[in-house]
């Protein structure tokens, strides 16, 4: 992809295929399905952060008129005793099974302990109040410091730290270390060394659609689920695993998904809905309330990061070292590994090391959140770089450019980078008029860089040619951010036909091959690759069919500009896709192509953001007044949706930086489980988000795609925090920068 190739469709901005349904209210999301015999399921949740369940009495609930089924963990198979014995309980499914319904002990406030199905939602709620549970409250741990203390209360009584030889029982589920060289040696070479500590609070993905599903079962064991998730194959596999059902008996029909950001890459309700359906013989619909979403679905939790950076007086980084503690919630499994891998990723370091600890606390089980683990890590590194630039008296972008990762740089997480766009992204930021625009009083500007790996994983695709020459594409990935459009654009490009002649269908688990979740910024890259391969399969068949029509060897036929042509001198008129499609029956039958692959050649992504803020010196309120996001997309298939990812990620990051946080009381109860007090940005909180798409094509993808969804949430936190420093002269190292904290900082009360 070295020379600029001209595309007809790739890079244009047509209307997404599912657009009409989504602006008219016709699109069906998780809670929009109903069946005539349907019951409503609801979950009883723990009022304690940590307690032993002494007894659960369901009799009064069962006796309530309209109640058709009641369940507890007793109704789930205990598949995992063996796994738990052999590996100390670290089997991921063991944790998931215990998370969807508590066994023996509740591990966080909001932990599911029972569920009911009744003829109405109101009766189901009433029934929950009739379930009598006796608890023996236990001491709980709510933060990193107390969880890692030597005399800490244990969240699990049987877990030892993975990755540490001879470790004893602990709340540290895992320890990981990576890097290269010897940081001590590197710091000796430095003229300036800065060491700082950073903390962040739990935040939620904040998707607008609560988790929802509808389950239907048959007496012979078949299960149909309508579910809103980031991957219906994930829902199928996890539900089947937790209930010990053959995969072939479970059909998951993907609903449209109302946002996920990583939070819908696991199951909460589906196994319960299936059990309730089996017990009642009716279909069961379950929808979380917003409060349940906050209390019991995966946030990303709190972190503490200590980071040390060394540089020469010329502004060359000599060493970086970081210790990261990430809360993983009640089961561990935090994103600390990704934190360790990304924290120094954008730059070249001769000596670098990061050590991570995955810490269990009595809070909800964490889930992935957009570039999991990276934003907190970038907060630490990118604000220390800002401080370093000031100390060295160099421009902060210049300092970053001097050290930026490029092809051949040994990445802090291991391998050598291939072609990446970190330098190009920073140069585009530096050259943007925003970077040199004047600022007013109490205003400041910050910049920061963000990195994410992007992902490949497994995808399947089908391409069916219809008799009228239109094309139906089958994908196994729920479309969250416009991927139907990007798949259709690549298909149109592959065939040389009109975009409008391509329809993309998100097929259920019985209608398309296995496909991994919509996550990791992988769909346009990986499923796109599968679609391109399936299209190639169809093109090959089209050439064969043209050969049949022309009675020549298939090798003599090529596909060019949307039609089959005979190579060399020929008076045969080319055959169009439509002509070949129409005649498919008499040339060999219907034409369809398929591809299933593990996508290789993932292109890593970099972004760089500029943020201007104005700080009210008397109240500490921070307002973002201008914002520009720059990112290497590799290739923007549909630039509007690439911009949309950049803008959305930027605003999520702004929210995380300024106002979003879980507030727990001393009993471990979440005090702000609603959108009123869990403050995601509203429209009047933010300015327009300018975007610059840099295209350093990924050489391993036919169109150069890298993946774009995650990178944009990595840079905003440090960009905002650096801007607040520029406006106030105070460095903040604890999120969020809420008005009381900022005012205290301005008063010198808490700023370091």
């Amino acid at each position: 992809m070295s020379e600029e190739k001209k595309f007809r469709w790739v890079g244009t901005r047509p209307i997404r295929p599912d657009g009409i349904d989504k602006v008219t209210g016709r699109a069906n999301y998780g809670a929009d399905f109903a069946l005539p015999d349907m019951l409503w399921g609801k979950v009883l949740r723990s009022p304690h952060a940590h307690a032993r369940i002494q007894s659960i009495d369901l009799e009064r609930a069962k006796a309530l008129a309209g109640v058709h089924a009641v369940m507890t963990a007793e109704d789930l198979p205990d598949l995992f005793a063996e796994a738990a014995k052999s590996n100390g309980g670290h089997d991921g499914f063991n944790d998931l099974a215990h998370n969807v319904m508590a066994r023996g002990r509740v591990l966080y406030h909001g932990h599911a302990i029972a569920a009911v199905a009744a003829t109405s939602s109101a009766i189901a709620s009433q029934a929950l109040e009739l379930i009598d549970v006796e608890y023996e409250p236990l001491p709980h741990v709510l933060d990193i410091a107390s969880a890692i203390a030597s005399d800490a209360t244990l969240v699990h009584e049987d877990r030892v730290t993975q990755g540490v030889e001879g470790a004893g029982l602990s709340n540290v589920a895992n320890r990981v270390q990576l890097g290269h060289g010897d940081p001590a040696e590197g710091f000796d070479l430095a003229d300036e060394v800065i060491e700082r500590e950073f903390t962040t609070r739990p935040v939620h993905q904040g998707y607008i659609e609560p988790h929802a599903c509808l389950a239907q079962t048959t007496p012979d064991g078949r299960v149909t689920l309508w579910s809103s998730s980031q991957g219906h194959f994930m829902v199928r596999d996890y539900t089947a695993k937790l209930l010990d059902i053959d995969l072939s008996l479970v059909k998951v029909i993907p609903a449209e998904i109302g946002g996920g950001f990583g939070g819908k890459t696991t199951v909460y309700l589906e196994p319960l809905a299936v059990v309730l359906s089996r017990k009642s013989g009716r279909s069961v619909k379950m929808v979380m309330s917003r409060e349940e979403v906050f209390r019991a679905s995966g946030p990303t939790l709190g972190t503490r990061i200590k980071l040390k950076l060394g540089a020469t007086s010329e502004g060359v980084f000599t060493a970086g070292e970081a210790t990261l503690h990430y809360e993983g919630g009640a089961f561990g499994g935090s994103s600390v590994m990704a934190g360790c891998m990304t924290i120094f990723a954008p730059y070249a370091f001769p000596h670098v090391r990061s050590t991570g600890y995955d810490v269990m606390v009595n809070k909800p089980k964490g889930a992935a959140y957009r570039a999991p683990g990276a934003p907190m890590a970038a907060f630490a590194l990118e604000t220390v770089i800002d401080e370093m630039a000031e100390r060295l008296e160099v421009d902060p972008v210049d300092l970053r450019l001097r050290n930026a990762a490029k092809e051949g740089t040994l990445a802090s997480f291991g391998p050598r980078y291939r072609r990446v766009g970190c330098v190009e992204t920073l140069e585009a930021l530096r050259d943007h008029p925003h970077y040199s625009a004047p600022l007013g009083p109490h205003q400041g500007r910050g910049v920061a860089v963000g990195f994410w790996f992007n992902a490949g994983l497994q995808s399947s695709a089908g391409v069916n040619l219809n008799p009228d020459g239109t094309v139906t594409v089958l994908s196994g990935n729920p479309d969250i951010g416009g991927s139907r459009a990007s798949l259709a654009l690549m298909t149109a490009e592959e065939f040389g036909i009109e975009y409008e002649r391509v329809e993309v269908v998100i097929a259920d688990t019985q209608s398309i091959g296995y496909t991994d979740v919509t996550g990791g910024s992988r769909v346009t890259f990986a499923t796109g690759m599968a679609v391109i391969e399936a299209a190639a399969d169809v093109r090959r068949q089209l050439c064969e069919r043209a050969a049949v029509v022309w009675e020549v060897d298939a090798e003599r036929v090529v596909w060019e500009d949307g039609e089959a042509r005979l190579k060399g001198e020929s008076d045969q008129a080319p055959l169009t896709l439509a002509e070949l499609a129409q005649n498919a029956g008499r040339t060999g039958g219907p034409i369809s192509g398929r591809a299933a692959l593990t996508a290789r050649g993932v292109g890593m992504g970099f972004g760089a953001h500029i943020c201007d803020v104005e700080v009210d010196p008397e109240t500490g309120r921070v307002e973002v007044i201008r914002y520009t996001a720059v990112q290497d997309a590799g290739r923007a298939i549909h630039p509007s949706y690439v911009e949309g990812q950049m803008q959305g990620g930027a605003v999520q990051g702004i929210g995380w930086a300024l106002n979003e946080e879980y507030v727990f009381d001393s009993d471990g109860k979440l005090e702000n489980p609603g959108f009123l007090d869990y403050r995601i940005p509203v429209a009047s909180d933010v300015p327009m988000i300018d975007t610059v798409i840099v295209e350093v094509p990924n050489p391993k993808h036919p169109y150069g795609v890298r993946g774009v969804g995650e990178v944009p949430i990595v840079a905003p936190i440090p960009a905002v925090v650096n801007a607040v420093y520029a406006a106030t002269g105070v460095r903040f190292r604890d999120l969020p920068l809420s008005p009381p904290k900022v005012l205290a900082g301005l008063d010198g009360e808490s700023a370091a």
Binding site: T265, A338, C340, M341, Y369, F413, Y417, W452, G519, G520
Partner: protein
């Protein structure tokens, strides 16, 4: 021989060394060779890590091909949002 780089945490299991020259046509063969040299190490690596071969990360790498001059890094496995 491919150059294999282990996670730092596992160096103590491999004679204290991070880097090793290992023969093998794919990741499974590299793991077997490592396991022969440092009993148990191969199994440990197989259970929990992804691999970067010449700069590209593979999450399920067992059968990925390795060239004689490849640089192979064992990494923690990372998903995404």
């Amino acid at each position: 021989m491919a150059r294999v780089v282990l996670p730092q945490a596992l160096a103590p299991r491999a004679g204290g060394l991070l880097e090793h020259e290992v023969e093998g046509r794919n990741v499974r063969a590299l793991l077997a060779a490592l396991d022969a040299r440092f009993p148990g190490l191969g199994a440990e690596l197989e259970g929990r890590v992804a691999v970067a071969i010449d700069g590209e990360i593979y999450n399920d790498p067992l059968l990925e091909a390795v060239e004689p001059d490849s640089e192979v890094h064992f990494l923690p496995r990372v998903g995404g949002g």
